[in-house]
């Protein structure tokens, strides 16, 4: 298993106090290499908290989490940064691109943190942009791109370091239907090439692209219908 969460609890505020808010309640999840998983749920159900835990951005209040057999909860801040840098790619609903930088510079950013030399960075960033169909737009700045193209740039940035897992939080949330469908096609292509994808969405149509889906309700993770079942 590449991602293995067991009995994860996450509570905001002091546990047991009146202001404590339980976000994850005994969540267990295993994702194997090459899987394409969707986690669905309404707003406030805890899906973003789950994504933060899986993405090593947040630590659970209790439980255990192994990423490629590494005990994530024992890692220090530097090691967590390195894990995110080399093994996890993030795609967010609102893209988080730097407006002053070109598409190429945005995509090359993680490579600069990995200490890749400039020429190599540019080469690999251009390859990633080509992969997402933006070879002609590498010198464009985000404000010169459409929403769908911005999300493609964000995906190129997420995959430029060849991560083991691609984590996507509402990747089509800010896009029109056509652009959203194109992004889903791209995810399918990446998954076919072997990238593990964990996608968080509230949209069952989007979730149907995944091969396996889960439902999260009030912090509890439930086995959802398969992609095919959702389609039907």
């Amino acid at each position: 298993m590449i991602v293995k969460l067991d009995n994860i609890f996450k509570t905001y505020g002091e546990s047991g106090s009146e202001i404590s808010v339980p976000a994850l309640n005994d969540v267990s999840l295993s994702v194997a290499q090459g899987e394409y998983v969707a986690i669905m749920g309404p707003s406030g159900s805890g899906k973003s908290t789950l994504m933060n835990v899986i993405g090593c951005l947040d630590k659970p209040s209790s439980g255990s989490y192994f990423f490629e057999n590494q005990d994530v909860l024992k890692l220090k801040d530097k090691q967590l940064s390195d894990l995110r840098l080399h093994s996890i790619g993030f795609v967010f609903q609102s893209f988080y691109l730097m407006n002053e930088e070109t598409a190429l510079e945005n995509v090359a950013l993680p490579l600069s943190y990995a200490g890749v030399p400039k020429k190599e960075r540019e080469k690999r960033a251009a390859e990633a942009l080509t992969k997402v169909g933006l070879a002609e737009r590498i010198k464009f700045r985000p404000d010169q791109l459409s929403g769908g193209q911005k999300q493609r740039v964000a995906i190129a940035r997420a995959i430029v370091n060849n991560p083991r897992v691609l984590l996507a939080d509402e990747p089509t949330g800010a896009l029109d239907q056509k652009s959203g469908a194109a992004i889903m096609e791209l995810f399918q292509k990446l998954n076919d090439e072997g990238t593990t994808i964990i996608m968080i969405t509230h949209d069952s149509n989007i979730a149907s692209h995944a091969k396996k889906s889960y439902l999260i309700v009030d912090g509890k993770l439930l086995e959802g219908p398969s992609g095919q079942e959702v389609d039907e």
Binding site: N52, G55, L57, D58, D77, K78, S81, D82, R84, L85, H86, F90, F92, S94, Y96, M98, E100, E101, L109, P110, S112, Y113, A114, K118, R157, A158, N161
Partner: protein, 417 residues
């Protein structure tokens, strides 16, 4: 590092006006310091040049009686002070600060010099060795200087300076004319002038009192001829040429010590003293420095205020760019990377301020120079230190904002979007 620099310049360029206003405190502080330092340097150089001329490096060492130079024509030959031996000259010449030494005798003119019916009332008569002119940095304006042959053959020749040429000869060429010095006739063979002439810059009455020098003329006769007109055992003075201007004080002091060890005068107030103009110049320079150091402190306070301005804007910048920081941390930037990025930005901002401050300071110094008539010398070491110092200000005042940025929780930072 280069990536951080690139991002820093891009950030500054994106917010041009804000960056400039942030830099303003640093620019004003550095400009004030550079202008003050340049004015101090200029004044100091002027003092130095006014007092010691430029480049002669000559230190005159004479026998003094208390505070006044000893006068042989009134007091006669002092007991216990002998002529300066060749060994003593060699000893002085061997000093590491000394380039050349030359002996000379000196008396004041008291109406004892005549040219035809003209009588010279004031001035000096010096009996000099052939290398005296070289040592004192004089060159022949007309005719020639003394040769070893003049010395050897006791030729009654003399060299006069421009002042004598003006007073006795109305600036006509005096070469070949004969003047009478204490009843002995001397043929003029040359006119000397200081090789590097200098005009003291006089701005105030105090400057005039300080720099005005006795411009009475001097008649030079060969050292060997001294005994013809005066006394053979009359103690000499020496002219020492130091290797550099900075060596003048040491050369003068050491040579004076050597000379004083050789004499045993009955009159204990008699001693050799160097007329060390460099030391006098340095004392004056010290005075200008201490006066202006107060101004530098005031300018430094402006730098401090500038630094606080930088910190303030950097804190605003961190708040504005919270989501950018969150993203960077999410995609794998370590704390140290984020910290360095903000530190670099602060340092680049203040360094640019430093550069602009130096440029403005030079401009300001030139304006002060034109308006107030004070001299200006741009101190490049001070300019370099100013830029380095402004960079340090950026780093110091950038620490808190950078630390804040580096320690942002990526989830909170992303949520701020």
């Amino acid at each position: 590092m280069f990536e951080n620099l690139r991002l820093a310049f891009r950030g500054i360029w994106t917010h041009k006006l804000r960056s400039f206003l942030t830099m303003l405190g640093i620019i004003i502080g550095i400009a004030a310091i550079i202008a003050i330092v340049s004015t101090i340097e200029g004044t100091n150089q002027q003092i130095k040049e006014n007092l010691i001329g430029s480049g002669s490096n000559a230190v005159d060492i004479a026998i003094f009686q208390g505070e006044w130079e000893y006068e042989f024509e009134w007091s006669g030959i002092p007991e216990g002070v002998s002529v300066i031996s060749d060994e003593t000259i060699k000893e002085i010449k061997d000093l590491k600060e000394v380039k050349n030494v030359s002996r000379y005798n000196k008396r004041n003119v008291f109406g004892n010099v005549f040219y035809k019916d003209k009588n010279l009332t004031t001035g000096f008569i010096k009996g000099v060795e052939p290398d005296y002119f070289e040592t004192a940095n004089f060159s022949a304006l007309k005719g020639r200087l003394f040769t070893k042959d003049d010395e050897k053959k006791f030729r009654r020749v003399c060299v006069v300076d421009e002042s004598i040429m003006e007073e006795l000869f109305n600036n006509e060429n005096p070469i070949g004319e004969i003047i009478e010095v204490d009843d002995t006739p001397y043929t003029i063979v040359g006119v000397v002038a200081s090789r590097s002439t200098f005009e003291p810059v006089i701005n105030t009455i105090e400057d005039y009192a300080l720099y005005h020098q006795d411009d009475s003329g001097t008649i030079y006769i060969p050292h060997a001829d001294w005994a013809i007109s005066y006394c053979f055992d009359e103690p000499e003075n020496i002219m020492v040429q130091a290797k550099s201007t900075d060596d003048m004080t040491a050369a003068g002091k050491k040579a004076t010590d050597i000379l004083n060890k050789k004499i045993h005068p009955e009159d204990e107030t008699l001693e050799y003293k160097s007329k060390d103009l460099l030391e006098q110049a340095m004392k004056l320079q010290q005075l200008t420095k201490s006066t202006n150091s107060m101004l530098i402190w005031i300018a430094a306070i402006s730098l401090l205020v500038g630094g606080i301005g930088v910190m303030n804007i950097m804190l605003v910048s961190v708040t504005e760019r919270t989501s950018e920081i969150g993203l960077k941390k999410a995609i794998g930037a370590r704390k140290s990377k984020v910290m360095w990025q903000f530190l670099t930005e602060a340092a680049v901002l203040t360094s640019l301020g430093g550069f602009l401050g130096v440029a403005s300071g030079i401009g300001l110094a030139r304006i002060i120079s034109i308006v107030a008539g004070t001299p200006v010398a741009i101190s490049w070491p001070a300019a370099i230190v100013a830029v380095i110092f402004s960079t340090v200000i950026g780093v110091v005042f950038g620490i808190i904002p950078s630390h804040q940025a580096a320690n942002l929780n990526p989830i909170d930072a992303l949520r701020s979007n």
